[in-house]
Symmetry: C2
Subunit: 777 residues, 2 copies
Amino acid sequence: MGDLVRETLTMSREGDEEAQPLLENRRFGSNTTSQVAIVGSNICPIESLDYELIENDFFKQDWRSRDKIHIIEYIFMKWILCFLLGVLTALVGFFNNIAVENVAGMKFVITSNMMLEHRYAMAFGVFTACNFALILFSTIITTFLAPAAAGSGIPEVKAYLNGVDAPGILSKRTLFVKIIGSITAVSSSLHVGKAGPMVHTGACIAALLGQGGSKKYGLTWRWLRFFKNDRDRHDLVTCGSAAGIAAAFRAPVGGVLFALEEMASWWRSTLLWKAFFTTAVVALVLRALFDICISGKCGLFGKGGLIMFDVTSENVTYQLSDVPSVLVLGVIGGVLGSFYNSLLQKVLRVYKLINEKGHAYRILLACSISILTSCCLFLLPWFASSCPTIGRSGNYKKFQCPTGHYNELASVFFNTNDDAIRNLFSKNTDDEFHHVSILLFFVTCYFLGIFSYGVVVPSGLFVPVIVAGAGYGRFVGMLMKSHSNLNHGLFAVLGSASLLGGSMRMTVSLCVILLELTNNLLLLPLMMLVLLVSKTVADIFNGNIYDIIMKLKGFPYLEAHAEPYMRQLSVSDVVTGPLQVLNGIEKVSNIVHVLKTTGHHGFPVIDEPLVSDSLLLYGLILRNHLIVLLKKKAFLPTPIPTDIDATRQFSADDFAKRGSGNSEKIEDIELTEEDMEMFVDLHPFANASPHTVIETMSLAKALILFREVGLRHLLVVPKGASRSPIVGILTRHDFMPEHILGLHPNLAKSRWKRLRLHSHSLFKKIKASQANLTAYV
Amino acid sequence: MGDLVRETLTMSREGDEEAQPLLENRRFGSNTTSQVAIVGSNICPIESLDYELIENDFFKQDWRSRDKIHIIEYIFMKWILCFLLGVLTALVGFFNNIAVENVAGMKFVITSNMMLEHRYAMAFGVFTACNFALILFSTIITTFLAPAAAGSGIPEVKAYLNGVDAPGILSKRTLFVKIIGSITAVSSSLHVGKAGPMVHTGACIAALLGQGGSKKYGLTWRWLRFFKNDRDRHDLVTCGSAAGIAAAFRAPVGGVLFALEEMASWWRSTLLWKAFFTTAVVALVLRALFDICISGKCGLFGKGGLIMFDVTSENVTYQLSDVPSVLVLGVIGGVLGSFYNSLLQKVLRVYKLINEKGHAYRILLACSISILTSCCLFLLPWFASSCPTIGRSGNYKKFQCPTGHYNELASVFFNTNDDAIRNLFSKNTDDEFHHVSILLFFVTCYFLGIFSYGVVVPSGLFVPVIVAGAGYGRFVGMLMKSHSNLNHGLFAVLGSASLLGGSMRMTVSLCVILLELTNNLLLLPLMMLVLLVSKTVADIFNGNIYDIIMKLKGFPYLEAHAEPYMRQLSVSDVVTGPLQVLNGIEKVSNIVHVLKTTGHHGFPVIDEPLVSDSLLLYGLILRNHLIVLLKKKAFLPTPIPTDIDATRQFSADDFAKRGSGNSEKIEDIELTEEDMEMFVDLHPFANASPHTVIETMSLAKALILFREVGLRHLLVVPKGASRSPIVGILTRHDFMPEHILGLHPNLAKSRWKRLRLHSHSLFKKIKASQANLTAYV
């Protein structure tokens, strides 16, 4: 029994190519889409996540045996984990802020004191050296300890939430390096933000909480066992990214919306509630912690950190006459934002070439950028700024100016980014800056932001864009002086919104984040207007910055919409072989052979009925589960099913999905000659409810199904009776444009194509050089 | 050709019950789940909506022939429609507010003047008579012109967005009655809100804009033709409900979140952007309109309406010590909110029995409630209130008190709800009210709100709950005086939040709506806390108020989660027969017979290959499309396919989905004897990409698929080769608990059941009496 199946279906192994009427128009070259991506700064193999419920007999048995108390345990633990996630993320966010304010503050205090003593060269030297040392430390720990911690982390987390897993992306080590590296990088006056790293940090904390304890550290708790699956981890990581934004900007509602709009690929209403709960915890904990700081126990922190730029004006009054100037701001902001994205894309390509030459080059690049930044921040105020008289109030920097005067550029440059934003957003400062200074500030920030991002340190994009946008907004406000009643602080806020909208293309979430950040609800209609205009304008030119970075990194991200050419194809046009199937009761040697010779993660299980000659589809079995079966040696001497209850032999924990990178390999399992001749009954362990499509299904609709339901494998079944009940399997990689257009090159020229594929070309080359990495589907 | 198919598959008609190996374990009683629901105040037949793309050959041909200009037209029109929707909804919202403030204001001015002249009995008489006349008018137009306009409309729109259509729910007449009826009902001092009706109004405007013009009124425009499908209408109606909340509360972001959290069953990121755009337009238009009113051109309107209760305190300071009192507020609010829901449910059942006795009873009920309300509002301040001295500032009502004194109850009772809320939310009024007055106010509002909702007038639930909650919050604030630093105005805001959270169970959206309403972002952490607590507490007792009403009304709403017992079943356990299939080339008489004898809306199309004896599944054809084919008489003389290009015979417009209730019936088509002997080639018009599941698929997973992808029909295919390529069809009604538990009564007792079904029992009886209504699947 069973050999017939294999003969007819797994022809590539047996070499038997006749008797295949059904598969004859199928392509037998396997999908060559690359299964590696750049995670942080290194190239790593990637794997798909499985958000489907595995409904096999074993699971159902196990599930039936659970009583009410287990369900209460599960629900209780879910909320406890969200609570812990909120508390921990808030603590990390608070620690980050205090650390940055103290480290960077100390640096500025020392150099400012030297300036007061007119030891200018010395001050420049100390400033540059401090920055250099900080960035060196940050680059070294990132490069050597956790390359996955480089960059903002948002693209990686977004890909994770879409179903792409990469080892190390959410590990303890990454978490540690992300926190320390981000603090040092931001303190070094590099033009990078801490919001992106906070999102990654929140996601890491969530993944660590959700991994169901750790046997290594003895942290095993019975109540945690239900969380060892991708589904619950996905929910927690979504909440974690919401908590990250909530902690970074003290914007709890904004955090939820950010997770919803930008990060999540699947969203359920219960998730909304959980994310809301998590960010509420973050807000309450932060509030309590800041109460401590008000009494002055946090060193140089004061009331500071990138938290609440209070721009409340008693009455924000604006008339319809202000709308045109806001429209102009939005349009130019959209153009600048999309230009930011395309410039960043180009810079990242060049940096990639440098970074991959070796560790030394990475460190060298980081150090050069640090020196460049130090020079800009110190020398521009020195040379390019006049010394106006100090006015009524405000946060002025004397710098090299005589007493009673201040250096207008230094008060924004020679400061932490948070303080610069606070200065630019504040009202009643319309006369504090000159045209030229603000323009210079904007241009410098704009380009420093672009050149700083690709460096191998944890680095966010939010703050650099907000700073540059604030400068841009103030500049436009100055030009519009006669046409508008808005003060320049409000123009700065709207300028930040327009540049963010042009670069990140979010709407509701950016709007709420900015409102929570500036604590001014009356700005809402103008904020909405400027975001809509800048996003619309920018969308003409290119895509969302995170999507661009994600594509550059090569993540097989499943889009929510189908490309037009996919409507012209049916699923059978993209299915590739060889299809490997297993019998309901399969010989051990065959299983081992299949597992060793293919990289697939799911195998259809086929039954041969006693009476008919046609086969029946029983379900789908996963590689992980097969390995567990082989390891536990749950073998039968003959291919005849027995009554042995699977729940007695196995516990649900055996089949629990491990954390990424921890799964066992077939090569590690030792089997004797005797074992190899035995049989395994796969029925209790195969998912008897696989999702299927018929072979004539339009590819576009199959993609929507795949994406909406969150699948890893989609079985293609024939449209009528045929020898085989299954035609092929679709995975994430079969929906990738590269694969489809590789099979059907004529579509690439068709007018229905709307993808920009050129962004892939360079990275494809890199990936080709790594093609010997084990392929994971 | 073809008769074999019919014989083997449509046995109920042919009476041939042998040769059915595949269907033998299938139940042949058709699904008896009721296909009527209470829409507004009348029982109507309901129909499912189809959010799937119909990918048939004809559609693909038509789609290929569209060039870029058509796509630009489509995108442009989508945004124009959203823009128009925003402008119109804002205008209606503004008009509503002005009308209510002027009508109700006039009433209060007249009665107050009489009170000043000490003509108290006269004042009471005029007050009661005005209210009586207004409610009479509102009930009469609702009962006789558009019964679908009764109630809040949110449950109906929510069901529509879930895929349940009812004739008249989004029609012009409903829109008109909803606007006028809501204004008169609210002006009559009845304890009903205008937010729910605004949501329904927004949805109506959206549906009318999205119906693709009107031939009757000559409003046909080529550019509108792409919108004649359920998918685009769904998007517009979602934006419409967001615009409704945005216009009612001047809360644009809250509106988007309300649509996302409460209304929508499917959500895409492009929808988020469109909803955001629509509400931004609403906000800008409202802002511009209110600028006109500031100069006093809006009569008694002033700066009023339920728009912005500005509770900004310079510094909302609260310490951790305030948290316990807020927790108490949340817990009791949750209990009160869930009690509100269950009481409302009971009252609605009783009212239902009264209302269905006839029009006269409906009007009588409304009038009695009006008199009761008038008595409460006038006599309670008269008898139960003392006359304290007028303090520093505030909005005091003299009522019957001597000069220099005020009646504390009258200043909240003898006022529009909006002004009452404003009085209760305002700060520095801690000494204005006494314990007993506020408690009396809360209890009266709480019960008046419950007894006013079921009356046959357009009536919202938001404002009554906010008013009652404000009273409740103030009362708790008074009790907590010594334990908290918060002023009573803030307690009132938090009390409203807790009662809303306990009744409506939203989180993020309520939070943002209340923040936008009160314009105070610093309250955010406390607001989140109180909402989380009250929702959690209330969820223990019962469900969301809108879900309760929707269930009472009998809408077949598809839940986002599967019930636990669904995991125990496979799809083949709930599929019911008889299955009607059609041949690829089918005889006209057979089509007519099938259409006349069944109420199904989709039929599988089966092909018989020339060589084999097994059948092939070609696709699914819709009833509407069959009727179009019959009407256009696109017949073939013989069952042999020809080369005639379908796109020449038909235009896409022929197959466009009409507005609800407008679809043509098979009985209206006249066919000659000759016609009946002809054939139709169904291939170009059948959807060749139907969604399928295998027969062993778990019912729970099939439900998730059905719901996530937004299907109307789901085909069940066999798990291996068999005579027939299709086992059955699942529709929305096959997933309803009543149907499943009817087939498998033993599951109802199983411990896996978690539904509360008792709420259906009464309405089932009502529906049973209407069972002779035509059944629509």
